[in-house]
């Protein structure tokens, strides 16, 4: 433990040995929320009474020898698109401001069954697609490394809360990068699992064929502990896969001998938008992977713009199908950024959508081939550090290709880990993309990298 900050792994060990109680952990987080969240706006709803009750119950269970596992007594929080029985779930939107679900999302339930304690619901971009908007019922989350800056999105509160120590772990969702972008900008580890690995039941959809649910935490090890609790088939999710879930924590440790890292240089080199500090940090991180024993080679993938074109058309068409009816009746109740981004989808044709899914198939095949030759692919999570919040482009993914969309299009797992900081103190993210359903190897690489570098020792000065 360093100062007021705990990782999930540290807290879990201290809870097991009864060096700390769930009540103390919950109180620490709630005090930090009270003092820091008026600046950071990471929560849209806190649940102090419910959390304190759960902490006391967990304390008694652990003391009575009934510890449920590594998450028992660990304070966590959820992006406000995860349904929570009896607790308002808004999608950060006026449209759902009074929505109180009758049932938990599958993932909400699995975390509760693992003994995690829910502290509250976290800010998001509107329905996981708007931007950092000022015309919504709640303000946008701020980056704990510099509150004048953007958190990344759309899991904005999830990123800010973990970085600031306002929760030890969170769940985000990722349709075009919404776990990995805030993880990169807030200095976390964030995992978009394979498509089908984690249930999406009870999570507001944005795009049926691109949506993924996954963990965000300070370290890859913490992501492994969270993923363990939520991974696995769900018969109510039509995309869920019947694939065995390995022991993720057991796969961690050791070096990277025998692993092959492919670097798709064409994705990012020569891009005038690639920030020099990001370029240097990512190059150093890839060199570190080599020092840890991995073989590093260049790899050729289809153009990034092809992935982005497929992702953008599919995402917008599917999102528009979900929101069309409400948009026609209540378009004024959506935020301006959401409207600007989604309304052009009204002009897409059926053929556009089908051509995008045909292109997608060829991209999936090409990505699978690259990952037949390499264990993981490594490249930047995002081309630049977090901009100031007022400088975030309103149309974002419509304006330029994002390095996070390939893994959404192909369904492969992808992890963002912190690989350094700019001179101004803003985090930089390295993205690792792995073989389908091989999250264990991705987490092993992320964990080995984090243990070999000093970046996990630094926290925001709040």
């Amino acid at each position: 433990m360093s100062g007021p900050y705990w990782t999930i792994a540290e807290a879990s060990a201290a809870l097991a040995s009864r060096d700390v109680s769930p009540v103390e952990l919950v109180e620490t987080c709630l005090k930090r929320v009270e003092s820091l969240d008026p600046i950071l706006h990471s929560y849209v709803l806190t649940l102090p009474d419910q959390a304190r009750r759960a902490a006391k119950a967990a304390e008694a269970e652990i003391a009575g020898g009934r510890r449920k596992g590594p998450l028992h007594g660990v304070p966590i929080a959820l992006k406000d698109i995860y349904e929570t029985a009896g607790v308002r779930t808004t999608g950060h939107s006026k449209i759902k401001l009074d929505h109180v679900p009758a049932a938990d999302a599958t993932t909400t339930r699995l975390l509760a069954e693992a003994g995690a304690i829910l502290l509250g619901k976290l800010a998001t971009h509107e329905f996981a697609m708007g931007g950092p908007s000022f015309d919504l019922p709640f303000p946008p989350a701020r980056n704990p490394w510099n509150p004048a800056h953007f958190t990344g999105g759309s899991s904005s509160g999830s990123g800010a809360a973990v970085a600031a120590g306002l929760a030890l772990g969170t769940l985000g969702s990722d349709t075009g990068g919404s776990i990995r972008l805030p993880s990169a900008h807030c200095g976390l580890a964030g995992l978009k699992p394979s498509y089908g690995r984690v249930s999406r039941v009870g999570v507001f959809p944005l795009s049926f064929s691109l949506d993924h649910c996954g963990p965000m935490a300070w370290t890859s090890r913490d992501c492994a502990l969270l993923l363990q609790a939520i991974a696995g088939p769900d018969t109510r999710d039509p995309a869920s896969a019947q694939v065995p879930v390995p022991d993720y924590a057991a796969a961690l440790g050791g070096d990277l001998k025998g692993l092959s890292v492919g670097v798709p240089h064409a994705f990012f080199e020569g891009d005038p938008a690639l920030n020099p500090e990001v370029a240097a940090a990512v190059a150093a991180a890839i060199a570190q992977l080599r020092d840890l024993g991995a073989k590093v080679e260049d790899v050729t993938l289809p153009p990034l713009d092809d992935y982005h074109a497929a992702c953008t058309v599919i995402l917008l068409a599917e999102a528009f199908a979900i929101h069309e009816s409400t948009l026609k009746k209540r378009w004024r109740d959506y935020g301006e950024i959401f409207r600007r981004r989604i309304l052009p989808a009204a002009l897409l044709s059926g053929a556009d959508y089908v051509q995008a899914t045909r292109l997608r198939r060829s991209l999936v095949v090409a990505t699978d081939r690259a990952l037949d030759r390499h264990t993981v692919l490594a490249f930047p999570s995002v081309v630049a550090p977090a901009p100031r919040i007022e400088e975030v482009p309103g149309l974002a993914f419509l304006e330029r290709a994002s390095l996070t969309t390939p893994a959404n299009v192909s369904g492969h797992p992808a992890l963002s880990v912190c690989c350094g900081y700019t001179k101004a103190g803003l985090p930089i993210g390295l993205q690792l993309m792995g073989r389908r359903f091989d999250e264990a190897t991705l987490l092993k690489v992320g964990d080995a990298y984090e243990r070999a570098t000093p970046w996990r020792q630094r926290r925001p000065l709040l």
């Binding site: 089908g196 049926f208 064929s209 088939p233 039509p238 995309a239 869920s240 896969a241 019947q242 694939v243 713009d305 092809d306 982005h308 074109a309 497929a310 953008t312 058309v313 917008l316 948009l327 026609k328 378009w331 409207r339 600007r340 981004r341 309304l343 052009p344 989808a345 009204a346 002009l347 897409l348 556009d352 089908v354 051509q355 995008a356 899914t357 045909r358 292109l359 997608r360 198939r361 060829s362 999936v364 149309l395 419509l398 304006e399 389908r436 359903f437």
Partner: protein
């Protein structure tokens, strides 16, 4: 004289928006026109002459899926 491609596009856009969102105010239509310009760049990258064997990606195509 034939209308310019830009003008034809703009007129088609106006018709489609009038059909989808008849009560959208003029300032929203202007913003939407600009956003559509960006989206058109991405739709222009989509392949249009694939052989018929090039089927779409299907959510349920992977062997591990059990719909």
């Amino acid at each position: 004289m034939a209308a310019s491609p830009e003008r034809i596009s703009r007129e088609m856009f106006a018709l489609m928006i009038a059909r989808a969102f008849p009560d959208l105010p003029e300032n929203e239509r202007e913003a939407l026109w600009r956003a559509w310009g960006h989206l058109e760049r991405w739709t222009a990258r989509l392949p249009r002459e694939l052989p018929y064997e090039a089927e779409p990606a299907h959510i349920f195509a992977a062997p591990e899926r059990r719909p």
